[in-house]
């Protein structure tokens, strides 16, 4: 059975084709979800790809949250649908209130494109069950606004609830301090990715779709994408059973 995974395309999305390509390698059938349509076409999961939705001139993701497709994504997420935001997609989900916190300008005030190491803090989620325990993954970041920020109470709650999905780590596998080079944007508590309370919506700044082929330096990102596709397949099966089909 082919698993249809939607890839949202905003004007200014520029990782949509890469994400679709990597999802295909992970066994999915990618489906374009055009920003003007408030219909997700019955896909088994939704990925919001990287880019500069609507130009991101005001603030990353701030316009995209008002698009028709995001109304549909919000409803889909509320119904338990699996949603992953990568880079700009993470920014959009945070702006839309589907994920906690905000992505501020990088502490360096410069765009940063670099390979980073991230550690999966949970390996029992829709997005990480393929990652080995405490697995460290190598993949690139490329963003100007990736500094994860939330107030202390929110950060404490995220940690308490196990909703920190990925952290930037140093060579020894320890969370990188905000001033460390291994923390590419100065994120608080080295947070590279988070989940919502229900665990069906996640976002991360690094690009798993750019780590989907060893020829390009790493295929660690495939562990994240395979997790997502398998989770989507399982959900489709469960729902089909639930509706008696």
């Amino acid at each position: 059975m082919s698993i249809r995974v939607g890839v949202v395309v905003f004007p200014g999305s520029n990782c949509d084709a890469d994400t679709a390509w990597a999802l295909s390698r992970a066994g999915a059938e990618p489906v374009e979800l055009w920003h003007e349509h408030a219909d997700l076409g019955g896909v088994a999961a939704v990925v919001l790809p990287g880019g500069f939705a609507y130009g991101d001139y005001l603030r990353a993701g701030v316009i995209a949250r008002f698009s028709p497709v995001m109304r549909a994504v919000a409803g889909y997420a509320a119904d338990g649908g699996i949603v992953l935001g990568i880079c700009n997609g993470f920014q959009v989900l945070a702006e839309a209130g589907l994920l906690p916190g905000a992505l501020l300008r990088n502490r360096s005030l410069r765009f940063v494109c670099r390979d980073v190491a991230i550690r999966a803090e949970r390996v029992d989620t829709f997005f990480t069950h393929r990652v080995a325990e405490r697995g460290v993954l190598r993949m690139p970041v490329a963003h100007g606004e990736g500094c994860y920020y939330a107030d202390e109470a929110t950060l404490d709650a995220l940690e308490r609830d196990g909703r920190v999905l990925f952290r930037y780590v140093d060579d020894d596998g320890n969370p990188a301090r905000v001033e460390d080079r291994e923390n590419p944007n100065g994120s608080l508590r080295a947070i590279a990715g988070v989940m919502n309370a229900a665990g069906n919506v996640a976002g991360l700044m690094p690009h798993p779709e750019r780590a989907a082929d060893a020829l390009l330096g790493s295929d660690d990102g495939m562990l994240v994408l395979r997790s997502l596709v398998e989770s989507a397949a399982a959900r489709v099966t469960t729902m089909a059973a639930g509706t008696g089909r």
């Binding site: 890469d18 750019r210 390009l216």
Partner: protein
């Protein structure tokens, strides 16, 4: 009508205010058979600018080799296109945006990226990579730092947003660029061979459709005022001539354009860059032997009250013109609407060969409405291909020696051992120097991964882009040798071609073709024109010797600030093809125990080298030679050896010489090595000389005999340097030129070099941020 054509200056005739000479005015009148009106004069002034007409350089460029069976589109098109197999072709071109970047670095650089990308997708190709070749003055100078930061932010700000990876380029500091930085940008695209689009306007009756951003007052006269004249430092009156870029609009323009082409809706296509609509309509009509009747009122504008000349010469960014059959209009309009892009029919193709500008509108048949006025009428070819040409006087500059630094003996030779310089300290100095240190500070501000084709890390030699769905990869590089060009522009240009081709060959790829950006001074100065002429001669000779066609490029003249011209800078871009990406060889040491070999002969001559600059040597008479036959042989040899899977790493010897190459390969590989280098003329030449046609390669011990056989078959000398391994770089100098035996060495003695890997890495990584005052 004169309002807006040019600032009125009392007593200055309009044509001179527009940058045209009396001779050019007479030539225009000759073409028209009458005197031009003010609007026509303004349109001629932008089209006959150096930037658009190549009036000084065209006679020289005609001497370049352009023929090759694999060239699908050559000079004169928006970009060169070459076949790469399986029905695919690669489009590539390099272009300058020097003067706009000097005035407003962020927007100048950003629109430089936008402009060259439009040249690529105007050919029907999807842009897949950008390279930026940058030249600045003293990095310690606050204004230079402002320019560097602004230009790098601009290149990144545009490329990152538009979704095209910036995968390589150069950053060079030289005092000659203090008042006039260089921003050259190369772009590469992929296109099906049968889908290549031409910038032509065939078929009288066809529609001329403008789509993309509305036309505003930005960039008026950019081609003639900014790009084609010398200007002073931060001249505020030039500021309005810089365009403003919108990469989001460009991203939409790329997608809409590729959709229009994929649907087969276009008869012709052109971007609107320098000289705006005037250039777009006159060049496309000229190429097709047709004319275009422009409906001035139909051109969407950003603001009211724009004069006709402003509308027609505006260089507002992110605009394209498509030529289409009338029945195609609804489909084109629907694609533009889907991407949220305005589009408008702004004219008709005619059969009279003229560019006519109509005010008052065209009817549905494309005829002027009753009462409409014709504001201008000129033959398209007079504006474009038959623009005036000049055979400028050329004269070599008088021989000049730079005054030597205090305390340095004025000898052209090599003072290294005699002056007690520690070669280890020299090596660290070179590795940490602004021109040789790690480019990570720049590269990390550019998205180099988007489109998921980029193989390998940044700043490690040529860029490699795999072609999805095939085993092939493209390899691209830019190189320009301004240091030698400043002394001998013929040799400098030839060396630039040789080095660029070598950087492609050392990956295993076969260089396909050359694009070039010729950055020179005021061509009306005989010395500057001589430099240009010599450089083009060197470019042509090197391309012929290496079997490389020149597929296009750009000439940027008037690169002068008051009192100083830039070092002549022939910037060479080369694209190569690797048939099997699994053959790719990188420049980093890969395994302990590998044998390190040097292919090619080390020749004397430190002129133009990084060592000469560091040591303050006056070396104008001491340039290394270039034997193009030896160069071709060395490159053929390395490609042979890589194809035989005998090479584990390869890097060419260039800036900083052999010692710097060994250090780089060690830093990138995370492992050192032990070497013995034979000294023939002097230790400095052996360690730091930059004589060309040399390649350092590593091979497994068992493969050494086979590699020796390949080298001798090509007649390439091959010397064994040593073995990879260990935490340091140890180089012992041996032979008749070394000063004393290795065992006698002590502190500051010049016969050996021993530096730890961590010291090398530290110097290399910290050099650029430190030079720019950007230490973390």
């Amino acid at each position: 009508m004169s309002a807006g054509v040019a600032p009125a200056v009392a007593g200055v005739p309009l044509h001179r205010a527009l940058g045209l000479t009396d001779e050019e005015l007479a030539a225009i009148a000759g073409k028209l058979g009458r005197g031009p009106n003010d609007l026509e004069l303004a349109m001629f002034s932008v089209m006959w600018s150096e930037h658009c007409s190549y009036k000084s350089s065209r006679p020289l460029l005609r001497t370049l080799p352009t023929g090759d069976d694999d060239v699908v589109a050559g000079p004169g098109e928006n970009a060169g296109v070459m076949r790469i197999g399986d029905g695919w072709a690669v489009a590539f071109k390099i272009e300058s945006h020097n003067h706009p970047s000097a005035v407003e670095p962020y927007q100048g650089a950003a629109t430089g990226v936008g402009g060259i990308l439009r040249d690529i997708f105007a050919m029907g190709a999807r842009p897949i990579a950008v390279l930026d070749a940058l030249r600045f003055g003293d990095p310690a100078d606050p204004r230079t730092r402002h320019l560097v930061k602004g230009v790098v932010r601009g290149v990144g700000g545009y490329g990152n947003c538009v979704g095209v990876p910036t995968v390589g380029g150069e950053l060079v500091f030289d005092p000659s660029y203090q008042g006039n930085p260089l921003v050259n940008v190369m772009a590469i695209g992929l296109v099906r061979e049968d889908a290549i689009m031409r910038a032509a306007a065939p078929g009288p009756g066809n529609l001329v459709i403008l789509y993309g951003s509305a036309t505003g007052r930005d960039g008026i006269g950019g081609a003639s005022v900014l790009a084609s004249a010398t200007f002073g430092d931060q001249d505020p009156s030039k500021r309005p001539a810089v365009q403003v870029g919108d990469p989001f609009a460009e991203k939409l323009l790329i997608e809409a354009t590729l959709e229009i082409l994929a649907a087969g809706l276009a008869e012709g296509l052109s971007d609107l860059g320098a000289a705006g609509i005037t250039c777009g309509v006159s060049e496309t009509a000229d190429r097709a032997g047709t004319g275009i009747r422009v409906d001035l009122d139909a051109i969407p504008r950003r603001e009211p009250g724009m004069a006709p000349v402003e509308v027609l010469t505006s260089e507002s960014q992110e605009r394209m013109v498509v030529i289409a059959r009338p029945e195609r209009l609804p489909e084109i309009a629907a694609i533009c609407a889907r991407w949220g892009i305005p589009c408008a029919v702004i004219g008709r193709v005619t059969d009279d060969g003229d560019i006519a500008v109509i005010e008052g509108g065209l009817d549905t048949e494309g005829q002027p409405n009753p009462g409409a006025r014709e504001l201008a009428r000129m033959p398209a070819r007079a504006l474009a291909s038959e623009a005036i040409e000049f055979d400028r006087p050329a004269a070599p500059p008088p021989r000049r020696r730079r005054a030597p630094a205090p305390g340095i003996p004025e000898t052209a030779g090599d003072g290294l051992p005699e002056r007690g310089m520690d070669p280890g300290a020299v090596l660290l100095g070179l590795l940490g120097s602004p021109n040789l240190a790690s480019r990570a500070w720049v590269a990390e501000q550019y998205d180099r991964h988007v489109q998921t084709n980029t193989v390998g890390g940044a700043g490690h030699g040529a860029a490699v882009l795999r072609l999805k769905g095939t085993r092939r990869a493209l390899v691209a590089t830019t190189d320009g040798n301004e240091a030698v060009s400043a002394i001998d522009p013929y040799l400098g240009a030839a060396l630039s071609v040789a080095e660029a081709a070598r950087n492609v060959s050392i990956t295993g790829a076969r260089p396909l073709g050359v694009t070039n950006c010729l950055n020179f001074g005021d061509p009306t100065r005989p010395e500057a024109f001589w430099q240009l002429r010599e450089a083009v001669r060197g470019l042509g000779d090197a391309c012929r010797a290496l079997g490389l066609p020149v597929t296009g490029g750009n000439v940027s003249l008037y690169n002068e600030a008051p009192g100083s011209a830039i070092a002549p800078t022939p910037e060479i871009g080369i694209v190569g093809l690797l048939d099997d990406v699994t053959l790719l060889v990188g420049p980093a040491f890969t395994a302990d125990g590998d044998v390190v070999l040097l292919a090619g002969a080390t020749e004397p001559g430190l002129g133009g080298s990084a060592y000469a600059a560091l040591a303050g040597l006056a070396a104008e008479d001491d340039l290394p030679g270039l034997d193009l036959g030896a160069e071709a042989a060395a490159q053929a040899f390395i490609r042979d050896a890589i194809a035989a899977r005998s090479v584990t790493a390869a890097q060419d010897v260039s800036g900083g010489g052999l010692a710097v190459v060994l250090a780089e390969m060690a830093i990138w590989g995370g492992r050192g090595g032990r070497f013995r280098v034979a000294v023939a003329s002097s230790p400095a030449v052996a360690l730091f000389g930059e004589s060309p046609s040399r390649i350092v390669l590593t091979v497994r011990p068992a493969d050494v005999p086979a590699v020796r056989a390949l080298a001798s078959r090509r007649g390439v000398p091959l010397a064994e340097l040593g073995i990879v391994g260990g935490p340091q770089l140890l180089v012992e100098l041996v032979g008749e030129g070394a000063t004393g035996a290795a065992e006698g060495r002590g502190v500051g003695v010049a016969d050996a070099l021993e530096v730890t890997l961590s010291d090398l890495r530290h110097a290399w990584e910290q050099g650029l941020p430190r030079a720019l005052g950007e230490e973390a």
